[in-house]
């Protein structure tokens, strides 16, 4: 589980973390609790800067460590892009002779020890060259961002740029996950608030039980079920890919609608599991706030319950939720392996699996780096956002 902050605990206790920087960072990593210290004063500009510099300085060694470990693990697995390509069940493929095979390994430096290869990868990465994908035979940057890069070069209009972004693997994954995150928030927050308002009431209990039941359904199974029911039987929604044939000929609104229709089922599969989690978290946060003096004050001055709940309680309860959403950000770009595969969604998740199967080292490394960066960055952003949202938090 990602979160150690127990909703029922007073906020202050769970957020005080101290220790050497490395430990703090790894704590941030594992638990997601921001390395924060509560104090009574406002953040000073200098303090924030100082903090940022220290955090940023730590990112580099962390990335080095992560990439080195990933590289070593991937390299130690038997096989290489050429042997796996040959072996992938491809009957029609002619055998290559052993001399050619060994020459190939030499040419791509795959015969060297892993640390030498890692050094070469690092050298390239430092200059922004992440190598060429073996399984797509083009530079890694193009595989991830093909279309957006082209749009940047062409300096096209915002609409066209968005269009281009969506036709890259990165864009496809971002779009799908953003949508499911929004879906989660839109459904889970009101449920959480309502459950907190009537704590122990029938709504609280029924919604809790239902959402936990949903939480326990594996989404790859639900995905197949939805395809058969909604896709095949009822034929309400598409379930293959991201676009209909003839997408290019549609109007802007038509395109948006088409994308949303295609994303509906996968986004549903990606979001329903998180509902239980977020709604319970929101419920806990709201409950914490409802016990505060200012809520009593608000009630005492005769505000109606709705106003108390949504204006005074929810706003303050949203602060711990920031952490939660911050933690979910990395998932936005890492993508979902199984769901993308099931719905033929042309995103990064699907690509990652294929990259591992075919030992496409440059792609595996780039995706791992991107994932690590996303985790580190979202932790940092969450911490900083926290400080701005809650004046009691001071970054040191």
């Amino acid at each position: 589980m990602w979160v150690s902050v127990s909703p029922s605990q007073p906020l202050a206790d769970s957020l005080i973390i101290s220790g050497p920087p490395i430990l703090r960072l790894s704590e941030t990593f594992l638990t997601g609790s921001p390395a924060l210290r509560l104090s009574g004063s406002l953040p000073t500009r200098c303090g924030v800067l100082n903090y940022l510099v220290r955090r940023l300085a730590l990112i580099l060694p962390t990335l080095l460590l992560i990439t080195a470990v990933v590289f070593a693990v991937v390299k130690l697995a038997p096989g290489n892009p050429f042997s796996m390509g040959q072996a992938s069940g491809e009957a029609a493929v002619k055998q290559m002779n052993p001399q050619d095979y060994e020459a190939l390994l030499r040419r791509y430096g795959l015969d060297r020890p892993w640390y030498v290869q890692y050094g070469r990868w690092l050298e390239g990465a430092a200059t922004g060259d992440f190598g060429d994908s073996f399984s797509e035979r083009r530079p890694v940057g193009e595989v991830f961002f093909n279309a957006p890069l082209r749009a940047l070069e062409e300096k096209s209009s915002a609409g066209a740029a968005l269009d281009q972004l969506l036709s890259s693997k990165f864009g496809a994954t971002l779009f799908l996950n953003l949508l499911s995150l929004l879906l989660m928030a839109a459904v889970a927050l009101p449920i959480g608030v309502r459950a907190a308002a009537k704590r122990g009431g029938w709504f609280d209990r029924v919604s809790g039980a239902l959402l936990y039941a949903l939480y326990s359904l594996p989404n790859y199974w639900v995905a197949v079920l939805l395809i058969l029911l909604v896709g095949v039987k009822l034929q309400w929604l598409p379930f293959i890919g991201m676009r209909s044939d003839g997408f290019e000929t549609l109007s802007t609104a038509g395109k948006a609608l088409d994308l949303l229709k295609h994303a509906a089922l996968p986004a549903l599969c990606l979001s329903y599991g998180g509902l239980a989690f977020i709604s319970r978290f929101a419920r806990g946060a709201v409950l914490d706030v409802l016990g505060q003096d200012y809520i009593r004050t608000a009630r005492a001055k005769g505000l109606d319950e709705r106003r108390v709940l949504y204006r005074h309680a929810l706003r303050n309860a949203l602060i711990p939720l920031l952490t939660l959403f911050g933690l979910m950000l990395p998932a936005l770009i890492s993508g979902s392996v199984i769901i993308e595969q099931t719905f033929s969604w042309p995103g990064l998740g699907q690509m990652y699996v294929k990259a591992i199967y075919t030992r496409d080292y440059p792609l595996i490394m780039a995706e791992s780096l991107l994932g690590a960066l996303a985790v580190l960055a979202s932790n940092l952003v969450t911490d900083v956002a926290y400080a701005f949202a809650d004046p009691r938090v001071r970054l040191e």
Binding site: Q86, A91, Q95, P98, R137
Partner: protein, 564 residues
């Protein structure tokens, strides 16, 4: 080559255009019990019409559409419609000219002259000439070009020369009869790449590899990575335009989704697993719109016995025969494959011209197996239930690729069968990459895997003793990883490679089949059949007789048409 077919039917999908075999009109409930080719009724009654689209799925995105650099199946499924080879095979494995109109050999078979077809145009209108053939050959041979597997067969080529614009001469180092079909490489346009030869690395990732220009029956239209590839009819094709207007390939990685896409009209063809067939065969709606074909792919399940002397068991022919006799292969076909398969007798396609019709698959005969083991000195003297010889128990380990769930089920049955004759087999599941590594290094006692038959039946790579040696790097020289060695087989293979007389070649290959069936260097278990549904508005759809030339369908998609 060794093949890991697995993961339900996604690979069936890969093989749809590939493998071939007999047809049974499964929609009418015929079982695939024999290997005769049948045709569904109602074909060829009307004159073909032009028009219409055909949409099929791909299990993954193509890697590249440059036929020299590509070495994966998915890329092949697409680029083979855009490009033409010099020569191809018909469904009886006879070479037919495509871009080469005809060819002749000198009497000593050391020079082959190809006469190219006149008036063939590239999709951009430029004429096709001998320069393009040389360009393609040079690209294949350029050490910096990742022509990973296109060079095999060219080792015996001394030189390729241009005689004039429409004539190319190939000079062989020695007569090599399988060599002609090495020229089934797809010819690429020299003018598009703009250089005569060389430029290795640039060629590997030239942007034109994603926007190919060929001479083939279909022209490239667009490739949306991860989504689809679209081709349209080449109305100027030298053999006449294809009847269909457009072919669309959609990337659908999951088999389950593929069937769903077919059922909702988004695909015109789908693979069907045995499990899916159990419900589909009673689904009237499905059967009404579909022609269902069942055929044997050119693949089989086999067990390799390591004969390099590293174990005391399998160097003895009697032991290997006993292994085969002791395992109830037919039982596995009946119980696990639901009857969708048949036992086989070697790496030879039943009914193929090279296959010896007198050889029957070995029966299930545990009594004879026990007698053979006794004769070989493996006896259960102590009554432990496990045979011994010189104090060593008959206990070995069999590698199985862990990814293929079906393989585990097969091997578990065989484990029980062997136990009954006093042989202990441990099953060792390993990841596919580990599996390949260990078998290529000959570090195993036995393994179970799948085998995919090559187009040309030449068995040199996996049955000739020279291919069972290890290179200094520790990898096997060839694919004879069981280190099988029989001088008579070697002689027959060498003769078969040298002769250009089809009858002699057939005789030599049938001799190999006979010797191997006796020696049992592997246990040839069975071939499973595969099922595919094609929407029945498509006409002239037939399963090929023997699947040579990498297709299931003969005639090919080019001659399919759609009834309005």
């Amino acid at each position: 080559m060794k093949v890991s077919w697995n993961k339900g039917i996604s690979l069936v999908a890969t093989l749809l255009f590939l493998a071939a075999g007999p047809l049974a009109a499964a929609a009418q409930g015929t079982s695939p019990s024999d290997l005769t080719v049948g045709f569904l009724p109602g074909y060829d009654k009307k004159a073909p019409e032009d028009g219409g689209n055909f949409t099929r799925s791909l299990p993954a995105d193509p890697v590249t559409l440059n036929p020299v650099v590509a070495n994966d199946m998915v890329s092949f499924l697409v680029y083979k419609w855009i490009f033409d080879p010099l020569v191809d095979m018909d469904q009886d494995a006879k070479p037919v000219g495509v871009l080469a109109e005809r060819w002749e050999n000198t009497p000593d078979n050391k020079v082959t002259t190809f006469h190219l077809r006149k008036g063939v145009k590239w999709h951009d209108g430029k004429p096709f000439t001998a320069d393009d053939v040389l360009f393609t050959y040079d690209a294949c041979m350029d050490p910096k070009v990742d022509a990973i597997n296109k060079r095999s067969g060219f080792e015996k080529v001394a030189k390729v020369e241009k005689v004039n614009d429409l004539t190319v001469k190939v000079i062989w180092k020695e007569p090599f009869s399988p060599g002609l079909l090495s020229f089934n490489i797809h010819v690429m346009p020299r003018h598009v790449y703009g250089y005569p030869k060389g430029k290795g690395e640039e060629f590997n990732k030239n942007p034109r590899n994603a926007e190919p220009v060929g001479t083939g029956p279909f022209k490239f239209v667009e490739w949306k990575r991860g989504e689809r590839v679209v081709l349209k009819a080449n109305t100027d094709y030298f053999a006449g335009r294809p009847h269909l207007d457009q072919v669309v390939f959609k990337t659908i990685p999951q088999g389950q989704t593929q069937l769903a896409a077919y059922q909702t009209g988004q695909l015109d063809m789908t693979g069907i697993s045995a499990e899916q067939w159990r419900t589909l065969k009673n689904d009237r709606g499905f059967l009404k719109g579909a022609n269902v074909f069942e055929y044997y792919a050119r693949q089989m399940v086999y067990i390799g016995w390591n004969q390099d002397g590293s174990n005391p068991f399998f160097g003895d022919k009697r032991v290997r025969q006993a292994m085969t006799l002791a395992m109830n292969r037919q039982g596995v076909v009946d119980k696990i494959l639901d009857g969708h398969g048949k036992t086989c007798s070697g790496f030879f396609y039943p009914g193929g011209w090279e296959t010896n019709p007198d050889i029957r698959p070995m029966p299930y005969d545990p009594a004879r197996a026990a007698a053979l083991l006794d004769a070989a000195g493996w006896k259960d003297a102590k009554g432990t239930g496990i045979r011994e010889k010189d104090g060593k128990p008959f206990s070995f380990e069999c590698l199985v690729p862990a990814e293929v769930e079906q393989f585990q089920r097969f091997i578990e049955v065989f484990q029980q069968d062997l136990k009954r004759v006093g042989v202990q087999m441990a099953i060792r599941k390993v990841e596919w990459s580990v599996f390949l590594d260990r078998t290529h290094r000959h570090q195993f006692q036995a393994y179970l895997s799948g085998w995919s038959l090559p187009d040309d039946p030449d068995p040199y790579g996996f049955l000739h003793s020279s291919q069972g040696k290890l290179l200094p790097s520790g990898m096997g020289e060839g694919q004879n990883d069981v280190s099988y060695s029989n001088p008579e087989v070697d002689k027959a293979i060498e003769a078969e490679q040298r002769t250009f007389n089809q009858a002699e070649r057939q005789q030599a290959l049938r001799r190999v089949h006979q010797l191997v069936a006796e020696d049992q260097p592997h246990t040839y278990c069975f071939m499973g059949s595969q099922m595919v549904a094609v929407r029945n508005r498509f006409q002239n759809v037939r399963v090929s007789r023997a699947g040579y030339g990498l297709f299931t369908w003969y005639p090919s998609l080019v001659l399919w048409w759609q009834a309005k």
